[in-house]
Symmetry: C2
Subunit: 335 residues, 2 copies
């Protein structure tokens, strides 16, 4: 089997030192999220499953780890001008919240068609919303205009060493809470979360296996890993609205070299896993958050002999921001 262990001579955007420092930096601001387990889900999966509930993180998703690490890394002078991002997702709310905690402005460029609950989250945390058209061109132009006018720092949702180190702090907590973990299953989108977690977890436990979970309708990471180069998709089609981004220049090398495998799942499997999360685990998550459970219950996982010796599996429930109304329509559509 190919060697997926961390090598000293390879340099990535984060290392155990940057992650440990990030943890010390953000610890006063983040929730140490609990780990839940369920005998019922264990017997369905035939494995011991441990769920790291990042839906209980401040802002409702893991994104606050990276955002707060970036915001609290800034020098005072730079910070005073504020931070900015163009995003309709959990990163926007997380950045607004981190900026509010530091007492600096956050400028959030949001496309007009963004989900209501995510816009409300940004507003709740005091983010200054700048509307744009729902195209990438309009997002970038509007963001550039904001940056020019304010001098704010653009904070990328995943392709930034500070973001990656912040997300990696999850692995320090998780391996401390459940030392016997032999496998981690992590949602993949832009790759910030899995990059930080992979670096952190493999530094602590070189033998640990890290598997990415990706929707079939947005399987750019699986295609990238198969072909050995970053593939971006012209369009995506998945219920998991948080998992539609493409890998970045900083996350790709980590995914390529260190992530052990990528499992892709159908939307139907994501919806089934969501129902289990609500009905068995009693955790309210968004579709993207349920994909790790979908992966461990999929035939691709169960029938792969490479995973036969995975016994204690850590699953990252990455976020819980969902309009209940929209959720229900999705369940009917895909259920």
């Amino acid at each position: 089997m190919e060697d997926k262990s961390l090598k000293e001579d390879k340099k990535y955007a984060a290392d155990i030192d940057s992650i440990t420092k990030a943890h010390a930096r953000i610890k006063p601001y983040i929730h140490k999220t609990p780990v839940l387990s369920s005998e019922t889900l264990n017997s369905i999966a035939g494995k011991s499953l441990f769920f790291k509930c990042e839906c209980f993180q401040k802002g409702g998703a893991f994104k606050f780890r990276g955002a707060s690490n970036t915001v609290f890394s800034l020098e005072d002078e730079q910070a005073a001008k504020g931070v900015a991002t163009h995003s309709s997702g959990n990163h926007a709310a997380a950045l607004a919240l981190a900026a509010k905690m530091r007492g600096i402005p956050a400028y959030i460029v949001i496309p007009k068609n963004a989900p209501k609950c995510k816009v409300e989250n940004v507003r709740r945390y005091g983010g200054q919303i700048i509307w744009c058209e729902p195209t990438m061109q309009s997002r970038e132009e509007t963001a550039n205009k904001v940056l020019n006018e304010t001098g704010a720092v653009l904070v990328h949702p995943y392709n930034d060493p500070r973001t990656i180190s912040g997300q990696g702090t999850l692995s320090l907590e998780f391996l401390d809470q459940v030392p016997q973990l032999d496998t981690l299953i992590v949602p993949i989108s832009g790759g910030g979360l899995i990059s930080g977690i992979t670096i952190g977890a493999k530094s602590i436990n070189p033998g640990i296996r890290v598997i990415a979970a990706e929707p079939k309708g947005a399987d750019d990471a699986a295609q990238s890993k198969a072909s050995g180069q970053i593939i971006t998709l012209a369009q995506t089609n998945t219920i998991a609205d948080g998992l539609r981004a493409s890998l970045g220049s900083l996350t790709w090398p980590i995914v390529r070299d260190l992530v052990d495998d990528i499992i892709t799942v159908e939307d139907k499997e994501i919806v089934d896993a969501m129902k289990l999360c609500y009905e068995i685990l009693k955790v309210a998550i968004e579709p993207s958050g349920a994909i790790g459970l979908a992966a461990v219950l999929s035939d691709s996982f169960k029938q792969n002999p490479a995973f036969k010796d995975s016994r204690n599996i850590g699953i990252v429930l990455s976020g819980g921001n969902v309009d209940l109304g929209v959720l229900w329509e999705s369940l009917h559509l895909h259920g």
Copy 2:
């Protein structure tokens, strides 16, 4: 103000000693459930709120504490004949699970119209289901027949000292997790949960305030407390299906003497609180589970000068067993 502190000379169905022993007995079997908090909910309430998530308890509700304490209290010979109950609710599933853990049979008499998810829970935990007509007469007759045939022990869902002490273990955990709690808000139905919690919490912290939360459409406890004697209602009308029982002979004296107040809320307030639990706290609960949050957000609580100095409020999210489909219909009906 009336004295609601524990007196040495009064004898109740549980005391700190029986609760501490129950805790030692059931600790290997229960989850120590996490406490969650949310700045957003704190600002809505104007108080610091701490949510004890018993929806994450085994069986999906606090009931497993009492059921496991009773099952593991039984002598071997008695236990071998099994346990029984007539219930369509969380107690039935909890008893089946506790019996399964001890390796003894559980006979569960269930009315034919019981909610699907609760029947499934009983089946999942290996309970032997005996169907009956949906009347109290048929429930009791069928249960008596089962007891006669099997010699099993009938386990009452709340009017039993072992059950009350088991539920009381929640207070030991909660006050250990959040020592600064000055007020607890606990759902009330048959009174087992609030009785155990009141005895436990006031033994540890005599100054702590314990408030019951009850649906207006099933306000027998509030009426009982107002009139000084147990009132039972001819019928109840509330979305909170777990809160329709009446006080028992063992729980009433504790509620009468030691519970500081009872706040009643409308179903609309329960549904609004449920939505906040799902959308802000990301916790999937049943209507009964949300009533504590509904109470703290109600005008009755906010405008009562007696609660003005309540700052750090512990809210028990008592359970999470709900059919998602039924939930959604309820939200539309009452939302």
